[in-house]
Amino acid sequence: MITHGHSDHARPGHGAVLATQETLDMMRLRYGDNFAGSTQAIAYGEELRLGDVKIKFHPAGHVLGSAQIAVTCKDTCIVASGDYKDASDPTCTPFEVVPCDVFITEATFGLPVFRHGNAADEVKKLLASVTLFPERAHLVGAYSLGKAQRVIALLREAGYDAPIYLHGAMEAITHYYQSRGVALGELRPAKGVKKADLAGTITLAPPSATSDIWTRRFPDPVTAFASGWMRVRARARQRGIELPLVISDHADWDGLTATIEATGAGEIWVTHGQEDALVHWCKTKGLAARPLDLVGYGDEDEHEPPPANEAEA
């Protein structure tokens, strides 16, 4: 059972995969047709039974097709959240609280310093910068699955109707979003466009590409990065980001804690991120909590498909 298509949650090579149609499609896009032995699609709210066990997928609001998975056996319900956010996102189905006994929560932004503001305000910041520096190109680093499409949709909501340029690595997934009815306006590949013509434009690229040789094709680029990590200045500066945009597809501290309380779960398992602080918080609230300590899971940036072959293109 796979919650969503990010590579730190969805990996190729399984015998049988149960996931939403979108997640299956994205895995196919990323890993090729033979990414799993067999696949089965499930819709949000649909219930499957396996002996005594009931399985149900609920929207997680993280990216297109993302789900929380509720597994119920007798009187016990366990919900694995996958990654989730309770903030608005025009590109996916909104998050839903699923009451349960054991809640397995992510903790990517599990520190009280992470409180994400309104994403629309961050997009305004980007547009103000484009106005201030009309002779420069704006490069927005964004994870190619989910964040990039959300940023584009937010730009459109803010009234920006000029063509938006794409790094080659995000074309396929973005076109998939469009094919699922997500309106993103006119998109163009950045490849092959004359340097001077990119002045005053916005280009979306995988985070790793925004500090790579690839950027040399842009006129004096302003490097932006759309991520919850941008809340912390040192993180932004370390990456050489000039315009940090705090736009996150994960729940922030308030979102995590409010969700944990809302599920009514008495036991919380914490994974994918800053487990310690969230476990501590749960305990102060009288909830049983422990970290799962999964190795090799966390920031999906580390697992972003390498744009290496893109870099010189």
Binding site: T20, Q21, E22, Y44, G45, H58, P59, G61, L64, G65, A67, D86, A87, S88, T91, C92, T93, P94, F95, E96, V97, L111, P112, V113, R115, G117, N118, A120, D121, L132, F133, R180, G181, S211, W214, T215, D220, T223, V232, R233, A234, R237, Q238, G240, E242, L243, W253, D254, G255, T257, A258, T259, E261, A262, T263, G264, A277, H280, W281, T284
Partner: protein, 611 residues
């Protein structure tokens, strides 16, 4: 305050000077008086608030947050002001998430629409309204004074903050700060904490801020610099003039700063076009360039000030020099000179002088062990006369007479270096000890050439003054780590850590001795960048570990001006002004220099300076 915060936020990330200027000028244009004036004051370091200490801010947050969560957060963020700004609890009971979850647009996704966690939260579990780890109790004590949160009071303006802080007593400060922190957004809170603790560190010099203000009225930054000492926050008269609404403010300051004249570095090819007879040569002393100014205020009292070459008032750091600037019988004067430490008449090296720089408190012990001294290069004003239009040779004559009249052991004349030909000057520069500098030769970093007929012009006018530094020290070091640059260089590995050989526990090993990020040509940068990308063995965050084995790696010829002992560096030495002078593709790393070589240099530089 929020607009100012937004500016600081943006400046903190902007690497380019011109773009910083644009951001600043745009702010000055869009912001009204007196806010913009206080912003200018904050950026030029003209504000300080003595009661606001980091300890106070730590107390504020520990009153409001779970100490474990604060500890974890501080560890993660690494900066106190920022941690507090980010985790400061929200006061209002309702969540300020501005857009509620929208109804699901049809066609997309495969499930049913959801309920937001927040709505569900109140419906199902009815948790406390704020998810803050501890109730914001300190905020409620104030009761009658001001209702917070309910009416959402507007955030304070920058002027409000500055004027209030100026008059506020120490005991009232925590409560006032807390109130503002409640009212501001997180960028505002960060800026407020940076402002009150005086630790801005956003890469803006006072000079840059003044230049941005000057740009507002297409004026020359020198003009602003000239009148600056006579101005005070919020600089209403300055902005009125810049916007063409009033006359130029008159500098009534009795001790104004005069913009400094600087020299160009001379290249070998320049000498062919220069006639030795047109020039006077002096030693270039390795101290800090200063301007010592004395004048009388309206009541006739003598005022003395010491300025850095950028016009920063550094009088407070050198109280031992001030009495020497009180010349009876003179109404005013301005000396351009070099600040040096002299012990028993001998000029000490820059390493020694460094002990006196950037000190907030100057102890009697420091004054005694590091006696400060002014070596005079030029006389810019004498009584009511502005001498800057005169040729150098005339100013020099007046300076000599002036220093004689002053007759103070702490202030002396910069000696000239006699020469008739460039060959003679070359010899003098190569061996200052034999050419008149005597025992002070260690503190000589080259020679200065000044045209006899040069007026004193601000900035770096062409062909008037030349600096001819002694040849730098050179070592061959091995490239060990590389890091990406900033701004235009962000796609290049342009910051290099290099090391030299030493014998360690595991035999021969490289120890890092410095970092350099300039000195190479654009073509060389491309070559090193390529080398780094092809020879990275490991990555640590933004840092690349580049292969450095006896037979594999890149040798860099590094030029530097001096060495100092440094406990912060593993090698125990720190270089002054290191830069890449050549790429030694021809040299195998095993033939690079050894740490012992640097230690020998260090001994000869500092052997006599240990306090």
């Amino acid at each position: 305050m929020n607009r100012f915060a937004e500016l600081l936020d943006r400046l903190a990330y902007e690497p380019g000077r011109n773009n910083k200027l644009r951001l600043l000028t745009a702010y000055f244009r869009e912001t009204d008086d007196p806010d913009r004036g206080y912003a200018l004051a904050a950026l030029t370091g003209a504000l300080s608030f003595k009661h606001a200490k980091p300890g106070l801010i730590r107390d504020l947050i520990t009153d409001r947050a779970d100490p474990v969560l604060f500890g974890l957060s501080y560890d993660y963020v690494g900066d106190l002001s920022e941690t507090v700004a980010l985790m400061w609890p929200k006061v209002s009971a309702s969540h300020d998430r501005s857009s509620p979850l929208p109804p699901r647009s049809g066609g997309e996704g495969s499930g049913v629409g959801g309920v937001s966690a927040r709505t569900a939260a109140s419906a199902i579990a009815a948790p406390p309204p704020t998810p803050d780890p501890s109730p914001p109790r300190a905020l409620r004590v104030e009761g009658g004074e001001k209702t917070i949160g309910h009416n959402n009071p507007p955030p304070p303006t920058l002027s409000e903050v500055v004027t209030t802080l100026r008059t506020l007593g120490k005991t009232e400060l925590p409560r006032q700060l807390a109130r503002w922190l409640d009212e501001l957004d997180e960028t505002g809170r960060w800026a407020l904490l940076k402002l009150v603790t005086g630790a801005m560190r956003i890469g803006i010099s006072a000079r840059l801020a003044k230049t941005a203000a000057a740009n507002l009225g297409d004026k020359d930054a020198h003009d602003v610099e000239l009148m600056w000492p006579g101005l005070s926050p919020p600089y209403l008269d300055l902005f009125a003039w810049l916007e063409g609404r009033s006359e130029k403010p008159v500098n009534r300051d009795p001790t104004p700063f005069r913009p400094v004249m600087l020299a160009h570095a001379i290249e070998d090819a320049d000498f062919a076009n220069l006639d030795p007879a047109d020039f006077i040569a002096e030693w270039k002393w390795d101290g800090i360039r200063v301007q010592a100014v004395s004048g009388r205020d309206e009541r006739g009292h003598i005022q003395a000030r010491l300025y850095s070459r950028t016009g920063e008032d550094i009088t407070g750091s050198f109280p031992d020099l001030v009495p020497s600037l009180h010349l009876q019988g003179s109404s005013s004067f301005a000396i351009d000179g070099e600040l040096l430490v002299l012990r028993e008449g001998r000029v000490q090296t820059f390493n020694v002088l460094q002990q006196r720089l950037n000190r907030k408190v100057v102890s009697p012990k420091l004054i005694k062990e590091y006696p400060i001294h002014l070596r005079a290069y030029d006389l810019l004003g004498d009584d009511e006369n502005d001498l800057r239009e005169l040729p150098f040779i005339e100013r020099r004559a007046r300076l000599e007479a002036f220093i004689k009249k002053l007759d103070d052991a702490r202030i002396d004349l910069s000696p000239t270096v006699a020469f008739d030909s460039w060959d003679q000057l070359t010899a003098a520069r190569a061996d200052p000890a034999q050419a008149g500098a005597g025992e002070d030769a260690d503190a000589v970093e080259g020679v200065m050439l000044k045209r006899r007929d040069a007026a004193y012009l601000p900035g770096r006018p062409k062909g008037q003054w030349w600096k001819w530094k002694r040849d730098p020290h050179l070592i061959d070091a091995v490239l060990m780590y590389a890091q990406r640059g900033h701004g235009k260089r962000s796609s290049y590995y342009s910051d290099y850590t290099f090391g030299v050989w030493t014998s360690g526990e595991d035999g021969e090993q490289l120890v890092p001795v410095g970092k350099a990020y300039f000195g190479f040509t654009d073509e060389e940068l491309l070559q090193i960048d390529r080398f780094v990308r092809r020879n990275t063995t490991e990555k640590f965050g933004p840092v690349r570990h580049v292969v450095h084995e006896p037979d594999q790696g890149l040798v860099l010829e590094v030029a530097f001006e001096g060495l100092a002992r440094s406990p912060r560096h593993k090698s125990g030495v720190a270089m002054r002004f290191p830069r890449i002078s050549r790429l030694r593709w021809d040299k195998p790393p095993r033939e690079a220099d050894r740490l012992e070589t640097l230690e020998r240099m260090l001994k000869s530089e500092t052997g006599i300076t240990a306090p």
